[in-house]
Amino acid sequence: MAALNKQTMLNLAETAVATALKQGAAEAEAFAYEGKATMVGIERGQINKTNRIIDRGLAVRVQLNKAIGFAYTNIIDNQATIENTITKALAAAKASKPDPNWKSLPEKKPYPPMPEKGFDKKILELRAEDLVNLSTRMLDAATEADKRVLPIEGGASAGYGSNALANNNGVSGFDEGTIVECSLATLAKEGNTVTPVCFEFSADRTLNLNPEWVGKEAARLAVSALKTTRIETKNYKLIFTQFALQELLYYTLINAVKADSVERDQSPFKDRLNTKVGSEAVTMIDDGLLPGGLRTGIFDGEGVPHQTTPVIEKGILKNFLYDYYTAKKQGKESTGNASRASYLSTPSIEATNFRVMPGTKSPEELLSEVDDGLLVSYLQGAHSSNPVSGEFSVVATPAWKIRKGKIEQASRGVMLAGNIFELLKNVTATGNNERKMGQLVAPWLLVESVKVIGK
């Protein structure tokens, strides 16, 4: 099936809004989504599967007597189904309760031009054969690097997504983008020793992958985890790589900067705007317009333009992230942070590209500042952190011992325990090695004094 064009997608959304108003909605918003992806999968060292997914859907949100209803369908080529979906949204609103704080759906605002590097026709043209070829290059690079390496799973994928959003205030937007990625999970085996799983990947919005690098790195990491050393229980200097930061920040800090968490007494950042919450080295922004960002787009899940929002500037808390509802309730403006899980969910507050600003030091320079510490990459259990207090108790495995500025043997199963808000105060430097990883864009982070339970 060919992709639906801009006009078809916009018509779908705009017609649904008009129909909902005709059926009696006081306000209506429609979101049309199309996603297409081709994937090639690797299992146990060989390419063994290919998937193609075409997923389309339409979601309708309506307001009736200040109560909100929502319905979706994935059958969009049938007018009766769409009308039935609108009926269901209205029925849901009727069954729901009025919300006195509801103001309206967002008003129309001009959209910024699409940032560069978000769409690449070459990604659309990738066939299963091309992805098989790409995966083969990655796999060969891993197995040729070292005999002890077992590539356990991974693959390559090419995806296209588009969405159209319309509401009764004249909001009408279309956005489309591409993404391509390849990844490999590995472990190394020697005698009876099996390492924990290591992982590397490459992802971009334009066709700019380095599968050989992914294969080699995934192999190097696993092999470097074979030789282990014991770690004593005490406080250490740690360097967090982007893998660890992504997990840790998503389950703790990012919750604390969402305006609804703050309002609901679920954030220690309440009443802390314009006060010091981190060290000088900590600057974080939410940037929905970052060129080439994996979450970049021109508008958010309710049609508000994306923007760049300073969150923490040199340790000072500057802003929270808002959707339209929470912003209006507090007399503020939305920061364009309403997010949707395709057509299946209502918008809720989420960071776009959450950027930890890089510093000037190279990874080697960061390492040289550590006499006795750990390099922490892979975390287990970050999702079991306390999302409100920011307390975490996680396993770092493998983690690598740093001695006198050099990365040495790995450790297995050491635990880190602490609090993200304390950790922010102990950041002494950020690297210059910024990297995109899902929602996070960040360099390495050097942190003083984190409790490590040794093994």
Binding site: K49, Y72, N74, V132, L150, S389, E391
Partner: protein, 461 residues
């Protein structure tokens, strides 16, 4: 539907030389809402209809997912899947083969006492509002309460090129309720998850009063909790923690795809890796449990699978593909979240069998340790390293329960830890949850209270 799906599998075999083909369709309807402090964010209803087509050509899988029931679109998609499988097969060293499975024709019906599709949204919202009210009025320090609710009803259809055809009613009722409390700058968080495959009658036993009170108490007890010490300690685990421990620390390693991927269990089949007190099952046949179903998404009947008996590894969890590799019987563990994804090996209801000790007997003999009562999350690694985060915990001092401790987690290696299970209780409880492995699966887990002589506790004190 039957004719269409059978026609598609025939087309794959006859026109595109597939060795095997399956067509799996769904007609599902979901009702959901999120309530915050009694305010409904948006009541939601959704229709998800679509077809998953999976073929084996030259020993490689091809898969296509299409959100359409149109015969022309689907015929094109199955040809596409076969073509892609051929492309993937070019470098196959070990072509995939499937273990034999009985050909089945069946129509599985559910008979709920209270069909969620027939309960009004108003009633569902009222139950959630009631739970919120109980949780927030019991103690003023409870500041927020979020209820997520979902029910799913409908039918799934499966046809294979071997002649299997199954129509199966689907029914799930699920809710996650969280509360947070605040006092003097201390923030706490508490969660409950409920699920059933029986029907809306779930809420007759898990009443708003019971659930609301559990949530509020846990959140407020934690307000005066202290951080645990980090280090190695003896611990007593409650059924809720034992369940997630069995699931994370052992269950994932028993998934045959992960065992084949280098997991530590592949070389331990038939070997003793745990104490005599350790017996685990993964059971798809428990009536009404959240992880139960009659057939998996390859059409294999769900079984009760013995994984480890008196410390000896007795079995793994299989799809037809891995069963062939291990020369074993498929166990009915191949599950797909929906039509967008292919079936992979997932757990069902995973639990530890009870023995003979009372709770007090478990505490006896622990001089300095912890009682971990309720979990917040867990994760496993192929080398056997597990982590379970704890949301409710107490000290044990000289055989007696002491002060509450907050935000701990436990970790260890499965192969060491199972040997250190030194006493197992006579009680038994099951919980409902969701497990992520690229896809979400509804699962159950549980067990009795147990004592473990040594695990690492991740504490900041």
């Amino acid at each position: 539907m039957k004719d269409l799906l059978i026609k598609l599998t025939n087309l794959a075999k006859e026109k595109f030389q597939a060795e095997y083909a399956e067509a799996r369709a769904q007609n599902l309807f979901k009702t959901m809402f999120t309530m915050k402090e009694g305010r409904v964010e948006a009541a939601r209803q959704g229709i998800e209809n679509g077809v998953a087509l999976r073929v084996l050509v030259n020993g490689a899988w091809g898969f296509a997912s299409v959100g359409s029931l149109d015969a022309t679109v689907l015929s094109e998609a199955i040809g596409d899947a076969c073509g892609m499988a051929k492309a993937a097969s070019l470098r196959m060293k070990a072509p995939i083969k499937l273990a034999k499975a009985p050909v089945v024709e069946d129509h599985v019906k559910v008979m709920p006492k209270k069909n969620p599709a027939e309960v009004s949204i108003e009633d569902k919202i009222e139950t959630a509002a009631q739970t919120t009210k109980v949780a927030m009025s019991l103690d003023k320090r409870v500041k927020s309460c979020t209820v997520d609710y979902m029910d799913l009803t409908g039918v799934s259809y499966l046809a294979t090129s071997e002649g299997t055809y199954i129509e199966m009613d689907k029914l799930y009722v699920w809710s996650k309720i969280t509360a947070s409390a605040l006092q003097n700058g201390v923030y706490t968080f508490s969660r409950e998850e409920l699920g059933s495959t029986l029907g809306y009658e779930l809420f007759d036993t898990e009443t708003p009063e019971a659930v609301g009170e559990r949530l509020a108490k846990r959140a407020t007890i934690q307000l005066k909790a202290k951080p645990p010490k980090g280090g190695t300690f003896p611990v007593v685990l409650g059924p809720n923690v034992v369940g997630v421990f069995v699931h994370e620390a052992f269950g994932h390693l028993a998934e045959a795809d992960l065992a084949l991927a280098g997991g530590v269990l592949a070389n331990n089949l038939g070997k003793k890796i745990g104490s005599d007190l350790v017996t685990f099952y993964d059971d798809g046949t428990l009536d009404g449990a959240f992880g139960s179903f009659k057939y998996d998404d390859e059409g294999v009947a769900a079984k009760k699978t013995l994984l480890i008996k008196d410390g000896v590894v007795t079995g793994l969890l299989h799809s037809r593909e891995t069963a062939q590799k291990f020369n074993a019987e498929p166990t009915g563990n191949a599950r797909a979240e929906d039509f967008r994804v292919e079936p992979i090996i997932r757990m069902r209801n995973t639990y530890m069998a009870p023995r003979d000790r009372s709770f007090d007997e478990l505490l006896e003999g622990v001089k300095e340790g912890y009682f971990f009562k309720s979990f917040r999350g867990g994760q496993a690694n192929l080398d056997g390293t597990f982590q379970v985060g704890i949301q409710e915990a107490y000290e044990i001092v000289n055989g007696e329960l002491g002060e509450p401790v907050r935000d701990a987690s436990i970790s260890g290696n499965t192969l060491d830890t199972l040997l250190k299970v030194d006493a197992v209780g006579k009680d038994f409880e099951m919980d409902s949850g969701r497990c992520g492995k690229g896809q979400i699966a509804f699962i159950g887990d549980g067990g009795p209270h147990i004592r473990v002589s040594e695990v690492t506790v991740g504490g900041s004190a």
